[in-house]
């Protein structure tokens, strides 16, 4: 029973009752009701899920720009024969491309591919570190999306919709499962450069704004406004927050508004975050061998990504539910054979380190790690700059019909390859995994039935997968 001294956040509960579907939203309900009792409740034990969850948290490594599938995880020896020729017209007719025409000539991959690990997953030579953990991965070669532009493609990958306004996968996860740590946000975003869709790529859309991703900046002050004003000591700040608490308690006696008690709790949380967040971001406290494993002290292009991967592990250890990392530089319209190896090198070591490190801490089993871009690239060459028309060294255009991603941990099969594409890497021939299917599968791993986690908006029950989505049971261990 509620008493006046127990702060219940009525507004949020009302919002929930209005928004979430009663009953089938009970997953979100259990957590919401707990979180609503100020900031002190953090017990994750009461979370109800639709299925027994295999994954408790997600680290999503988004390679912004769209890595080339033919040069990484989906070898196409047949393409060598077509090098310099247009692909069969029946294949390309009516297809949408961003910058090239359907008759653009094919270009082969210059990289060698080989089976890796005991499982024999095939990877190109671009990922020597990742090859050492191949037996932990499932490679999906049959990804498909609807969009051919970065902004809309990123939105589609994260929200299942190509325009702004829908909640992201991370926001849905945060809404459905909440956080295991009341001192930290449940959905954190790390980036070495911004994605094209900007904050839309971690938006809560029409869900309440508390479910949006919180952007942590690189460096020791990941959040704005963590520092006290100049000259204000921790002691003085503590006294100020204490006085605010006393004053707000007196106001509570006057108005009996439960929001006041939530606000008291939020000020106390803010005060704790002023120390807990910088402590969390302090990578110098990690032992030397871990820093080396990730390569955080390098000065190359991968330094920020390495630091973000290590920070992601620290966030997961502390109960953060969803860590979204953006790595920029995979939009290889031109000069792909100089730029792609650099991009791959920038992430290879840290990706492998993340898997090794999660595993040695027993976290990999219930942490779902995802690596991939918003779409793939054409088997055909792009040789002109889209803006100026100037001739450029060869590159590849955006491609939505197929692309490759990999996943690891969190209930995913180990050393497995799923789906297949045609001889050119143009279209899917076996087991397509559309972005909606990918979302359905990931939610399934988190214990969520993608058809059941809904939110009432504009008179309709929305879900991440809209009216689509099939769980790819075959990739689940």
């Amino acid at each position: 029973m509620m008493t006046t001294s127990q702060p219940i956040d009525f507004f949020k509960r009302r919002e929930f009752l209005r928004g979430g579907t009663l009953g089938i939203g009970s997953l979100a309900l259990s957590q919401l009701l707990q979180q609503d009792v100020g900031a002190s409740a953090s017990s994750p034990t009461g979370i109800d899920t639709h299925f027994a969850p295999k994954a408790k948290r997600v680290i999503f490594l988004h390679m912004v720009g769209g890595p080339s599938q033919m040069d990484t995880f989906d070898p196409k020896p047949e393409l060598d024969k077509w090098d310099g020729k247009s692909l069969p017209a029946e294949l390309t007719r009516g297809q949408k491309f961003a910058f090239i025409t359907p008759d653009a000539r094919a270009i082969k991959s210059p990289y060698s591919f080989a089976p890796r690990g005991d499982s024999g997953i095939i990877m190109s030579e671009l990922f020597p570190h990742l090859a050492t953990v191949a037996d932990e991965l499932t490679v999906v070669r049959s990804m498909q999306t609807n969009e051919i532009n970065h902004g809309s493609g990123e939105l589609f990958l994260h929200t299942g919709h190509g325009q702004l306004g829908r909640p992201t996968f991370g926001a849905w996860t945060s809404y459905g499962l909440g956080s295991e740590n009341s001192d930290l946000p449940s959905f954190v975003v790390l980036k070495d450069a911004p994605p094209n869709a900007g904050p839309g790529a971690w938006s809560s859309g029409f869900l309440p704004s508390k479910y949006q991703g919180t952007l942590f900046r690189t460096g020791d002050k990941p959040l704005f406004y963590l520092d006290n004003p100049h000259g204000v000591s921790r002691q003085e700040r503590g006294d100020v927050v204490g006085a605010i608490k006393q004053m707000n308690s007196l106001a509570f006696d006057r108005y009996h508004d439960p929001e006041i008690q939530t606000r008291i709790a939020q000020y106390e949380l803010a005060y704790r975050m002023q120390t807990s967040v910088p402590e969390l971001a302090d990578l110098a406290s990690e032992p030397e061998h871990i820093r080396k494993l990730y390569g955080v002290d390098q000065t190359g292009p991968g330094a920020d990504f390495a630091r973000n991967c290590l920070l992601a592990r620290r966030l997961c250890e502390r109960g953060v539910r969803f860590v979204q990392i953006f790595n920029k530089g995979w939009d290889h319209h031109a000069n792909i054979y100089t730029a792609l190896p650099r991009s791959a090198q920038g992430v290879d070591q840290a990706c492998a380190a993340l898997i090794i490190d999660l595993k040695q801490r027993g976290l990999l089993d219930d942490t779902l790690v995802i690596w991939g871009g918003e779409f793939g690239r054409t088997p055909m060459v792009q040789e002109h700059n889209a803006g100026t028309g100037a001739k450029t060294p060869p590159g590849r255009d955006h491609h939505k019909e197929c692309f490759s991603i990999w996943m690891a941990g969190g209930g995913i099969k180990k050393g497995f390859t799923y789906g297949a594409t045609d001889d050119f890497g143009f279209g899917v021939t076996e087991k397509p995994m559309h972005v909606h299917d990918f979302h359905a599968t990931c939610q399934h791993l988190l214990g969520i039935d993608h058809e059941q986690l809904t939110y009432r908006h504009q008179g309709r029950d929305f879900r991440l997968t809209d009216v689509h989505g099939h769980v790819a049971k075959e990739i689940i261990a």
Binding site: I24, G151, S152, K210, D227, G459
Partner: protein, 814 residues
């Protein structure tokens, strides 16, 4: 129990309406049955022909009966009962989700027994005058405001009493925040406390309604609807000049422009006879749409996205209808076909081309739609008249054909490049040249394109002593023109009507049948002479027969004042929306609004003069349990202010607020680097304002969609990429950090501390006065004691100022 009995009881209970539930209450179609049918059945058996299963539709009575779904009077013969109670998991309806509860099945049974009467959805029927208001029309007692009659009638049914009136100081602050978005001064509070009579309260309300700050406050939520912003959104997020539209909104509110005119000017000001500049600027409403100009988007694709947004926004703002649900297929719940969607779309599909692809390939697109210049003052307008003549005068003195210039070109190029390499060119000169593309000089003359050759000539004229001064003067004049007569985007239609087609599955690349402009059949028919363009659309929206526009509008104004709409979903009055808590009040307000010439000031005044509004906001524990959301209004409204108003309030309390109105958006201090986070933007440097522009009202802060001002975002403001009908009202730790540590609020606390120090009298007097600035009321002894002991501990007014600016009461309307 016999059917007769139920019918009889039904009539009785229905007459009492909304009573406390007793076991065998009659079943009401709108309250009990439609939510079940709409929520659990319409997805496959509703208005959408495309997804209809088994040829059964339950949204139309005759169709449901004909298909055997319902046999009136005989639930056991009715297919829908059989299918919802069957134990066969393959036959059971609905096929997904939980089975209907026993209570729901029982309601369906009793409804069918009673003959399965359908009712039109209330929102599609015109508002009705109500007996409640008329009965007591002459009553001069305290409850003479009809709002109170409706509210009390409902309270009585719930056995609740209204709360006593709020303290005068608290009330004046409440009404001041509601009407102008700024707190009262301590002098105003003192004056009102001396004479808090009804008449004097009304005088205060009138004073506030006449304030020029009224428009600034009420514009904020309208700009959310209009998705007003100062940039395009998406990848490049280029800047745009739309603030003249924002100023139009502020002025329209201040002039109490009748809402029908307010509607017509914004949707179709350009189509009025001899439109004024102001009427054309009003049409910026629909030029505000976010536009995706990134790399591979197609012009036709951008246009379709923009037009869909215009349809969706118009539907939500005026009709409370989710039209966009019928973009790809017939609406699943509301009676709107896909064809009707595209008929509505056709009103907007008359616009001239608004976007163009520029450059060799498809990298960037630009606006080419209609623009008008906007003058901030008559002096600027006069000056703008003079400038073209001055430019012509300079042009006349400038002989660009002068052979000296052309003959000397090669020599000039060499010397310029040599000087530059030697770093002898003064920066000023080189920068000016670089802005004109001096890089082109590095290209060998024989390799230059036609455009580039012209560019080089222009550079030469600019740099040459004979022509340069004139060129520079022309540049200055053009820059001045841009500054005093900024161009803002407005709507314009093509001379000849354009054809519109239905898009198969909403895909613009797949147009099918031709459609003519038209309105959903469920609503009223337009006048016979209604033009088939946006003007016809706007007139239809504010037509006396329109059942929605007035209701939807008063509901939004009500929600802004009372914290919650009479319909809890102000953007959706459709079948899936929750029933109004006070349906008769909603209708009364709608009719009152129309009868009083659609005056928003009149309506707001009526609301704040009600006793309902003036109640204490304190909730007893019992009341919190019965009515946590304050739906019944047995207490006054209390909720946190929006992000813009939190800022305005703290700046006002600390004395820093600038009251300057209108003009270009401003750039208050924000954390470094935010604009660098916008992916491929050209403009990445945030030009922090100087002087009073740092302390303007939140309304004037530049809204960059790609990364909006954090202290508005943290308090549930949005990037305004789409129409926002109702903001959230979150309560987070990030907000606490924001108010405690944001340099803007630290500066406010410093200014406030200085002010407190200079207050006359003892510390106790200083603290009392400071508290009153923040909360309007006098502090209690305990409050005074808390603040004084903090002061004594650190000997710092700054700490006290910080506490006062961070109080729940300071950022909340109490």
């Amino acid at each position: 129990m016999t059917t007769r009995f139920f019918q009889l009881t039904g009539t009785l209970v229905a007459a009492l309406t909304c009573g406390i539930s007793h076991g065998e209450e009659a079943v009401d179609f709108s309250d009990d049955i439609r939510p079940i049918l709409s929520g659990r059945c319409f997805n496959c058996h509703g208005p959408d022909a495309g997804s209809r299963e088994a040829d059964l539709r339950l949204d139309i009575r005759d169709a449901a009966i004909e298909a055997g779904g319902i046999v009136p009077g005989n639930p056991d013969e009715s297919l829908i009962i059989e299918r919802v109670i069957t134990k066969d998991r393959y036959d059971r309806m609905p096929p997904k989700g939980k089975a209907l509860t026993e209570g729901e099945v029982d309601k369906l049974r009793r409804w069918i027994e009673a003959g399965a009467p359908y009712e039109a959805h209330w929102a599609y029927v015109k508002p009705k005058a109500s007996a409640v208001a008329e009965k007591d029309g002459d009553d001069t007692s305290e409850a003479s405001n009809p709002i109170d009659l409706f509210i009390r009638q409902r309270l009585e049914k719930a056995d609740l009493e209204p709360a006593p009136p709020a303290d005068p100081a608290v009330l004046l602050r409440r009404v001041s925040l509601d009407i102008i978005g700024l707190p009262p001064t301590p002098e105003e509070v003192k004056r009102f406390e001396k004479n808090p009579s009804k008449a004097n309260y009304e005088r205060e309300v009138d004073r506030l309604l006449a304030s020029k700050h009224f428009g600034e406050k009420w514009a904020i939520s309208w700009l959310d609807l209009a998705r007003y912003a100062d940039s395009n959104g998406y990848q490049h997020d280029d800047l745009r000049t739309m603030w003249p539209y924002r100023d139009w909104v502020v002025n329209a509110f201040n002039n109490d422009m009748p809402f029908d005119q307010f509607t017509i000017e914004q949707l179709a000001g350009d189509l009025l006879p001899n439109p004024t500049t102001s009427q054309r600027i009003a049409t910026g409403f629909h030029r505000n749409v976010a536009t995706n100009f990134s790399g591979g988007t197609k012009v036709a694709e951008v246009r379709a996205q923009v037009l869909h947004d215009r349809v969706s926004t118009t539907g939500q703002v005026w009709l409370g209808m989710t039209l966009e649900c019928a973009q790809c297929h017939d609406h699943k719940f509301d009676p709107i076909s896909q064809k009707e969607y595209y008929q509505f779309y056709a009103y907007f599909n008359q616009a001239i081309p608004e976007f163009e692809q520029k450059g060799v390939d498809m990298f960037r697109k630009f606006f080419i739609g209609e623009e008008v210049p906007y003058y901030a003052s008559p002096a600027d307008a006069r000056r703008a008249q003079e400038i073209p003549a001055e430019i012509a005068h300079e042009e006349a003195k400038l002989d660009r054909k002068k052979p000296i210039a052309l003959k000397g070109q090669t020599a000039w190029e060499k010397s310029f490049l040599a000087e530059r390499r030697a770093k002898n060119v003064p920066w000023e000169r080189f920068d000016a040249m670089a802005r004109r593309g001096a890089q082109v000089l590095n290209k060998a003359p024989e390799k230059r394109s036609g455009d580039e050759r012209q560019q080089v000539e222009a550079l030469l004229f600019y740099d040459h002593p004979a022509t340069g001064p004139h060129e520079k003067r022309i540049d200055e004049l053009r820059a001045e023109m841009e500054r005093i007569a900024p161009k803002t985007m407005v709507m314009m239609d093509t001379a000849e009507p354009m054809e519109s087609r239905l898009f198969h599955r909403g895909d613009y690349t797949n147009p099918t049948d031709l459609v003519q402009p038209g309105f959903p059949k469920i609503l009223h028919t337009p006048d016979a002479d209604s033009p088939p363009n946006r003007l016809g659309l706007a007139e239809w929206l504010v037509h006396p027969e329109n059942p929605l526009t007035a209701r939807v509008t008063v509901n939004r104004l009500w929600a802004e004042i009372f914290g919650r709409g009479i319909v809890a979903t102000p953007e959706d009055f459709g079948m899936q929306s929750p029933s109004p808590t006070h349906p008769e009040l909603l209708d009364w307000l709608a009719l009152e609004f129309i009868e009083n010439d659609w005056s928003m000031k009149h309506l707001i005044k009526t609301m704040v003069l009600s006793s309902t509004y003036q109640q204490k906001s304190k909730a007893s524990p019992e009341l919190l349990e019965i009515d946590p959301a304050n739906e019944l209004l047995a207490r006054g409204p209390r909720f946190r202010q929006s992000g813009e108003l939190v800022r305005d309030n703290l700046l006002a309390v600390s004395g820093l607020l600038s009251r300057k109105m209108g003009g270009p958006a401003v750039f208050p201090v924000q954390p470094d680097g935010l604009w660098k986070d916008i992916s491929t933007a050209d403009v990445t440097v945030y030009p922090t304002s100087e002087g009073e522009d740092r302390h303007r009202r939140g309304l004037y802060t530049f809204l960059r969609r790609g990364n909006p001002y954090p202290s508005v975002l943290n308090f549930d403001g949005t990037n305004r990429s789409t129409c926002v009908v109702q903001r959230g009202r979150s309560n987070t730790a990030v907000q606490a950090l924001n108010l405690l540590n944001d340099p803007v609020f630290v500066e406010a606390a410093e200014a406030f501390a200085t002010m407190i120090e200079q207050f006359p009298g003892e510390n106790c007097d200083k603290v009392t006065r400071a508290f009153q600035r923040a909360a309007a009321r006098k502090p209690s002894d305990a409050e005074l004691e808390t603040l004084l002991s903090l002061y004594h501990k650190h000997n710092s007014w700054f700490s006290v100022a910080q506490v006062l600016l961070n109080l729940d009461e300071t950022i909340t309307k109490s």
